[in-house]
Structure formats: C-alpha cells, structure tokens
C-alpha cells in the first residue's frame, strides 16, 4: 500500500510539472499580443519592446519558464499586465468561490446519479429503467450554459425567487450564499449527472449478473443485503473512475458558468486573463484549475485502490 501511494504521488508531481510547462508554453507562444492588449492597438514598436523587456517576454521561452516555475513554487504568481496588481492574493480570494461551486455541483450530480442509476439497474427493462435512461439521454444533450439561461428565465425573471447572480461569502450570509449558488450548481450538476447515471446503471447491471451475486442470493441473503453490501461496493469502482473524469469536465466548465452568474471565481479569472491577454492572470487561473483536477484524480485513484486491493497489486505486477 505504501509503495502504491508513493508511486501515485510521484506520478502526480510529474504530471503537474509537465502540465505547467504545457500551459506556460501554450500561453506564451505568441509574444506581442500581451503588450498590444495592455498598451492599446496604437502602441509604438518602442513601447511594445520596452513592455516586453520589462517583463522578460523577449527572453528564450525555457528561461522564462524556469524563472516563472521558481517564483510560482514560492507562491509568487507575478503581477497582472493590466493593472499591476499581485495575482497571488486575488487567486486566493477566488479559490473558495469555485471550490464551493464545484463541490455543490458534484454533490448534486452524484445525489441524482447514484440512486437513479442503481434503481434503474435493479428494475432492468421495466418502465422505471426506461424513464431513467430517457432522462439521462435528455440531460446529456443540454448545454450547461443553456440550462443556466433557462433557470434564470424561470427562477429569476418569472418566479422572482432567486437573484440573477453575484456572490456573497457563506460566512457573511449563508442563505444569500446558497440562493446565489443553487442555479450555477444545478446547471453544472444536472448536466453532469447524465453520464454518471448511465455509468452507475451499466456497472450495477454488470455486477448484478455476476456469479458472486448469484451465490449470495443462493445462500439466501435477502435482496437488500445483496444490493447494499455486495453489489454497490463493487459497482462503485468503475463509477468512481468516470466520476473523476466528469469532475474534471465540470471543473473546466466553471469558465462558462461563472461568467453567466457573475461569480468571482477561478473560471472568470481565466476568462478575464484571455480577454485581456493578461498572461500571469490566465496562467495562474488555468494552473489552479488543473491542480484541482489532478488532485481529485489522485484522490480517486487512491480511493479506488482502497476499495479494490487488486488495483494496488496489479500496478506493481
């Protein structure tokens, strides 16, 4: 188990390092656009040159990357090209917003997918199964940013129950916080549940038709024990792996959803960074999102290892 953990951690660190290089290079391949964006389109070539020299944008890419990596590891994310404000503290302020959104959305997705998927598998081929599959098909085709629009249309403009957007910290006003978070979380969670329902149903079906379940039933264990103790635990392993990928997708989608609901999180940070060609902002936001996705994958990997000890052995065989 210890060797398994160590191997996963090492792989995590390597992936993170490589991912940071990919982000850095992708964002920095086009020099000039950042200067133009910060100084305006009428900037003189001399002004652009000075801007790039001051920020080291004229040096070789690998040199810039090395310096950036060194600073970033010490927690220094540089200053914004646009307004010269330090990026790090801003990032720290935005972190909890996105985290709350993503966790709520993921919770919603799983609270829908786990029971519905398991239920559909138990009632395989019956009306309930068909309805659940139909629901998953419909949900899976709705763009989350359209769902967000529809929710605002119904709950804000028509019923006037919920505010159209904005953010209040949970500590300041818990009720207001939840009122502002529920629509963004639903937009992400409902759409994500579509795939998860299908995965849960499929893996549950597979487990329920396997030999050891038949043995358990033959021994006379009641249906409830069979499902709860034997089937669910085994169906969760493939489910968890897909859920981790889906969480990554969901976490990426905050770029769109935060923009719609005016949430000051990592997603809107990335978007502002792109629109202004503000590389330090864009890099910090994109890197933070990537780190989260990688951490979740690491946790799921370890959780899957705990649920299924064969995975731990298999990786070293």
């Amino acid at each position: 188990m210890f060797r398994f953990l160590l191997a996963r951690l090492a792989a995590f660190a390597l992936t993170l390092l490589a991912a940071s290089a990919v982000l850095f290079v992708t964002i920095n391949v086009l020099p000039g656009s950042a200067a133009k964006s910060a100084l305006g389109i009428n900037a003189t070539p001399q002004a652009i040159q000075r801007f790039e020299a001051e920020r080291g944008l004229d040096r070789p890419l690998w040199e810039q990357y090395g310096e950036w990596l060194g600073r970033t590891l010490q927690g220094d994310f540089g200053t914004s090209f646009q307004n010269s404000v330090a990026v790090g503290p801003d990032l720290l302020k935005r972190l909890p917003v996105t985290l709350e959104l993503a966790v709520l959305a993921f919770l919603i997705a799983n609270l829908i997918a786990l029971p519905l998927g398991a239920l559909a598998a138990r009632k395989h081929g019956k009306g309930l199964d068909r309805s659940v599959t139909f629901l998953a098909t419909i949900l899976g085709a709705v763009p989350n940013f359209w769902l967000a629009t529809l929710l605002v249309l119904v709950f804000t403009l028509t019923l006037r129950w919920l505010p159209p957007g904005g953010f209040t910290p949970f500590a300041a006003d818990p009720l207001m916080n939840l009122k502002q978070m529920i629509m963004p979380a639903l937009s992400l969670g409902l759409v994500s549940s579509a795939l998860l329902i299908r995965i849960m149903r499929a893996s549950m079906l597979e487990i329920l038709s396997s030999d050891f379940i038949r043995t358990a039933e033959a021994k006379g264990a009641n249906a409830r024990t069979v499902v709860m103790r034997h089937a669910l635990r085994n169906a969760l392993i493939p489910y968890l792996n897909v859920a981790a990928v889906e969480f990554g997708f969901l976490f990426g989608s905050v770029v769109v959803i935060e923009d719609i609901f005016r949430l000051p999180g990592l997603g809107s940070f990335v978007l502002v960074g792109i629109i202004n060609r503000d590389y330090p902002v864009l890099l910090a936001g994109a890197l933070a999102i990537t780190v989260f996705v990688l951490v979740v994958n690491l946790v799921v990997d370890i959780a899957a290892g705990l649920l299924d000890p064969r995975q731990v052995k298999g990786r070293h065989a």
Binding site: A19, T26, L30, T137, L271, G273, L282
Partner: protein
C-alpha cells in the same frame, strides 16, 4: 428457422436500429439546414431592419427577430453551417491525428509507445474546455482557430481508442501473415490495421461530433469562437441573454437548436455502438 421462413439474422430489426434512425433523422435535419441554408432560410441572416426589432414570433418571422431586427430562424439555420463546419473539421483533426498516434504507438510499442501515450495522458489530464480556451488564447479568436483548438482537444481520446483497437488487431493471424509475406510497416498499418479499427473509431467520432458542437457553442458564447455579425448558436445565445426579459425567444431558439443537434449525434453514436458491439448493450 423462423416461422416466416426468413433467417432472423437478415430480417430488418427495427429495435436494433431504433436509436440510429432517430439520431440520424435529427442529424439529417441539422445537416440539411447547414447545407441548404441559402435556399431554406426565409431571410438573410445578416440584413437588419430596425423597424422589425425584437418582434415576437409571428407569421412573417416564425421565430421572431433579434435586437437588430434580423430574422432569428434564418440566423439559427445559418448558424448550423458554422457548427457543422467546425465540428466536421475538428473531429477530422482529432480522428486523423489520434488514429495516427494511437496506431503508431501500438504498432511500434516500446519507447515510442511510452512517449506518445504519456504525452496523450498529459493532454487528457486538462479539462477539455479549459484546454480549448487556453489554446484559443494563443491562437486568437476566430472560427478557424476554434476548429483547430477543439480538434487538438480530441486527439488524446481518439489515440487511446486507436491504440487499444490496434493492439487487439495485432494479435490476429492475418497481420502475422502480412509480415511473413514481407509487407512493409506502412503497408501493414494502412492495409491490414486501419480497415479493421475503423468501426469503433467511427462510433467515437459520432459522439465527438456532439461534443464538438457543444465546445464550439461554448467558445462562441464566451466570445472566443465565431465573431459577430456571423451567426453561431453560441453567440446568438450570448447576445440573446441580454434581452431575456423582453425577448425570451432569443435565448430559447439557439439553445433548442444546440439541444437537437447534440441529442441527434449522441443517439446516433449510442445506436451505432449497439449495432456494432451487441455485447455492450444493456
């Protein structure tokens, strides 16, 4: 065998093809709109008429008009063009690039396999939309760049599938036979392997098509993809949201169009998977 005297295997089985047919019809609808846009759109998608601004659906404008008095139905029809173009090219980039990388990795194995697939794993670890958005930042905002960005996002998925399929084909005797008679690596890859891994890749392509439509709409919605005045479902929805209270049809129409398109490709992909691989069916 059967009472009607027909072999049940050759009789057309509607149940088996149901999803393919429904999905195909929806996809056909969108494709027809995209191909025949100039002939079926009742108005020009760009011509504006301030007198007709923000009109609700009527007999003259079936789906109403937008903030510049442009016909929403016509714009939605033309937007299908952009969506289909972007999706087609993006999926092609992903399919060709991914197949090439996956087949080469599986065929040569060893360090080639290790380097290529670790790179793919790395790209796969980014959330797709984040990767697309970051790529747009470096490529610049335009429809063409959206195609490239989305295509690049698809490469890792296709390469994994191509690699797995190639590995199972490599164990077949006909590949051994081809080697024995002295076919070159390139010949074996193109004549023996590729034709035998096409089916799963095409199924994946249908699903990727749906995803490409979603990604293109999201990029255009954020203002990074198709640029106004060109109509794309994403940028129509984005401007429509500003007039949600007075003119909800501006938000409903492009969303519905995306939904029909994505649903169509998803059903088609699911259906094809059932048909090609009955074991997967539940």
């Amino acid at each position: 065998m059967s009472l009607s005297g027909l072999d049940p295997q050759t009789r057309f089985d509607f149940g088996r093809w149901r999803l393919v047919i429904i999905g195909g019809l929806l996809v056909g609808l969108v494709l027809a709109a995209a191909i025949f846009a100039p002939w079926i759109a009742p108005y020009s998608p760009l011509e504006f008429d301030v007198v007709e601004m923000l009109q609700p659906p009527s007999t003259a404008h079936w789906l109403g008009t937008d903030e510049l008095g442009r016909d929403v139905l016509s714009r939605a029809i033309y937007a299908a063009r952009i969506s289909m173009q972007v999706a087609l090219l993006a999926v092609t980039v992903g399919l060709v690039g991914g197949t090439l990388i996956g087949t080469i990795a599986a065929y040569f194995g060893g360090w080639v396999d290790a380097i290529l697939m670790r790179t793919m794993d790395l790209l796969f670890s980014f959330p797709a939309i984040l990767l697309a958005v970051v790529l747009m930042a470096s490529l610049g905002n335009s429809v063409w760049n959206a195609m490239i960005a989305i295509g690049l996002v698809f490469i890792p998925g296709f390469s994994r599938l191509a690699r797995a399929s190639t590995q199972s084909v490599l164990r077949q005797q006909y590949v051994e036979a081809a080697r024995t008679i002295g076919m070159s690596d390139v010949q074996i890859i193109f004549r023996e392997i590729l034709p035998n891994i096409v089916a799963p890749l095409l199924v994946e392509a249908a699903v990727a098509f749906a995803y490409a439509v979603l990604l293109e709409s999201a990029l255009s919605f954020l203002g990074l993809g198709a640029q106004p005045p060109d109509a794309s479902w994403g940028n129509m929805l984005s401007t429509g949201r500003g007039f949600m209270a007075q003119a909800p049809w501006l938000s409903l129409v492009p969303g519905m169009a995306m939904f029909i398109c994505v649903l169509g490709f998803n059903l088609l992909g699911d259906g094809l998977r059932d048909v090609f691989d009955p074991h997967m069916r539940h």
